[in-house]
């Protein structure tokens, strides 16, 4: 059971969160300008590295914030990511 640092609520059990995948995957601003291949890549592919990956997590059972963390997929070491101002 990982312990996830929510930027608002603090450390909470993984079970309060949803991991929403890699944060680098951003919806293209103009999807119609994308080639089929680029669009498919956005839809279906993750880099899935061995090592540090930046992820979106959603504190659905708490403050319902979406935030990013850097998680090492080998050691599960987690580092918070400074929040972008909205």
């Amino acid at each position: 059971m990982l312990e996830i640092p929510c930027p608002w609520c603090g450390l909470r059990n993984e079970s309060e969160f949803v991991c929403a995948g890699e944060a680098d995957r951003k919806r293209p601003p103009d999807p119609e300008a994308e080639t089929d291949e680029a669009w498919a890549d956005y839809l279906f592919n993750s880099t899935n590295p061995k090592g540090v990956v930046r992820e979106w997590w959603w504190h659905v059972a708490g403050c319902t914030r979406w935030f990013q963390i850097d998680r090492d997929t080998v050691t599960h070491e987690i580092a918070p990511v400074k929040e972008r101002s909205k």
Binding site: C9, G10, R12, N13, S15, A61, G62, C63, R65
Partner: protein, 168 residues
């Protein structure tokens, strides 16, 4: 034979959900003539109403049921047209009071968050008994109030009985 805890359903409360950033928060503060709690897990408790901080742009105004309409309209009108949300959520939640010397022994069966970190008067939201709850600490260690989504109310009522050591 079981834990020393009294559980009861809360009645006659109203909950108004507020979402909004700093500009609209100022409007609400002016409307209610109170400074909103801005830090995580904090609350401002007044005789007429309490304001619970649930996130940086999320509050609950908790008051008596009889004030629901009047408060909702005042809060709503003060931010009309702005990037804000004012919603009556009284019926979306069911509140329970968990009181007694073993209150923590019952609650820690459902909450995985660190109950040690919450003092009297504080509040938070977290996973609870697979359905989630908003927690208000009335008197740390002794007296707590939880609010669960109302569709879970019968389940949670039963869950709390079992957690106290009763047979259902």
């Amino acid at each position: 034979m079981s834990y020393r805890v009294e559980v009861s359903s809360l009645k006659d409360y109203a909950l108004i959900n507020l979402r909004g950033g700093a500009p609209v928060t100022a409007n609400w503060e002016a409307t209610l003539d109170v400074t909103f709690p801005k830090a995580a897990h904090t609350a401002v408790i007044n005789e007429a109403f309490s304001v619970l901080s649930l996130s940086s742009d999320h509050w609950w105004v908790r008051t008596a049921l009889k004030n629901e309409d009047e408060l909702f309209h005042r809060l709503s009108e003060s931010v009309s047209g702005d990037h804000a949300a004012v919603t009556v959520v009284t019926d979306h939640f069911q509140g329970f009071s968990v009181q007694g010397a073993d209150a923590v022994a019952v609650l820690r069966q459902g909450f995985s968050l660190d109950l040690r970190s919450l003092d009297s008067g504080q509040c938070t939201r977290g996973g609870f008994a697979r359905c989630g709850a908003t927690l208000q600490v009335v008197d740390a260690g002794m007296d707590y109030e939880i609010f669960v989504e109302a569709s879970y109310s019968e389940y949670v009522e039963r869950w709390l009985k079992v957690a106290q050591g009763h047979t259902v």
